[in-house]
Symmetry: C2
Subunit: 232 residues, 2 copies
């Protein structure tokens, strides 16, 4: 699904950037593939803003063309430990259940926003850092979901109706956390600037205990790369 720099040098893409490890790697990959990148950070009422601050800095550091941030208050809908007052659970990354940190329809909302931005920016690529390996049971991180969204994009937009083909790129989907860290390290990412923790403090320091911290920690160990994460 990806294009090389030599084939299509001027293609534009919207890259969903959270400020975490995965999406920083995603942006580095999109840029390495030759896309003019328009990054989009969505503030969906998550508990911490350190991740959003990191997103803006990473976008600039990696050389994106433009960065935008959209606020959408998913707390008004509720149903998740990330947006409600339910305590974030400690790690249980071997569980087969869908975790309480699942935000209902989150990736549908994120991709819809990215699609709107893509249409305005005249981009035909959308990059999203979903991962089917470490996805902890989130239904909207699977290839079937991505395919359904691509089908929607074609009929949902003025550009799609006019014949433009939207492609949702998911270069991380089959990578382990260690693979992602190795790839990003090759591309020169400073992971100390990224924030993955579900409950980071205001300085962006990680709790070291939640699912996201646990996956990240194990990823650095498995990659054999020293972990630059700042813990509180």
């Amino acid at each position: 699904m990806n294009s090389t720099k030599n084939n299509k040098p001027l293609e534009k893409a919207v890259v969903l950037l959270s400020g975490g490890l995965d999406s920083a790697t995603l942006l580095a990959i999109a840029i390495a593939e030759g896309y003019e990148c328009h990054t989009l950070a969505v503030d969906y009422g998550q508990r911490h803003n350190a991740e959003l601050d990191a997103a803006g800095k990473i976008s600039k550091a990696l050389g994106a063309k433009q960065h935008r941030q959209v606020k959408i208050d998913l707390r008004a809908i509720g149903g998740s430990a990330l947006t409600d007052d339910i305590p974030v659970p400690d790690a249980d990354i071997n569980s087969q259940d869908i975790p309480v940190t699942y935000v209902p329809a989150r990736n549908s909302v994120l991709l819809s926003m990215a699609l709107g931005y893509a249409e305005v920016a005249q981009a035909n690529g959308i990059f999203i850092g979903v991962n089917a390996v470490d996805y902890s049971g989130y239904p909207d991180c699977r290839p079937a979901f991505i395919a359904a969204f691509e089908a929607l994009a074609q009929v949902a937009t003025k550009a799609g109706v006019a014949g433009q083909r939207f492609i949702v790129h998911t270069p991380l989907i089959n990578l382990s956390k260690a693979d992602i860290i190795r790839r990003g390290t090759e591309l020169g990412i400073n992971y100390g600037a990224t924030v993955s923790c579900y409950q980071a403090d205001v300085q962006g320091r990680a709790c070291g205990r939640c699912d996201s911290c646990e996956l990240r920690k194990q990823g650095f160990i498995a990659a054999g790369i020293s972990d630059p994460t700042r813990y509180s």
Copy 2:
């Protein structure tokens, strides 16, 4: 696609309610069909809030179970006269072009939000007031778009993966504006409380000149029903 009161008396539905004429009629239809209705108004940075105020009042007046309002700032993405500083054009309802009042991916965003709310409220119905007759060329008001979204909903959610079937109900899709007004009048709606204008003033009074005003005005004339719209 609709159920009757006698067949499924306790089904829940999320109803997207803008405060305009169409969605007020939509809610009245959903309630008449026996659904327990959870209304959702989305503030997507449109210029006027009179329509949102009307939504809350209409939800209560028609007997919805719950009303929620979510703010999402689509102005950060731009591309539309409804959210940017482009002047709203006067009516040209016979044009075949997609109008500048088209908001990129708007109905994808709205339905994604409704899907998240439906999952939290354990509703399997979503009602949206799209219309393929007077839709002024919006791609995301067509049956093909609705079908693609239903397909997405099945794979996007925990409930869908667990086997729940989400249905997107579009009872207005093939109705003319006059048909909608006749149906709503039968159901007892006070259309004086609804706001359809793209640039209503703070008291909810309509401009009388935009596409939306023109369609509404002609609808009352065609229905042979006296127009209770408050004009500025």
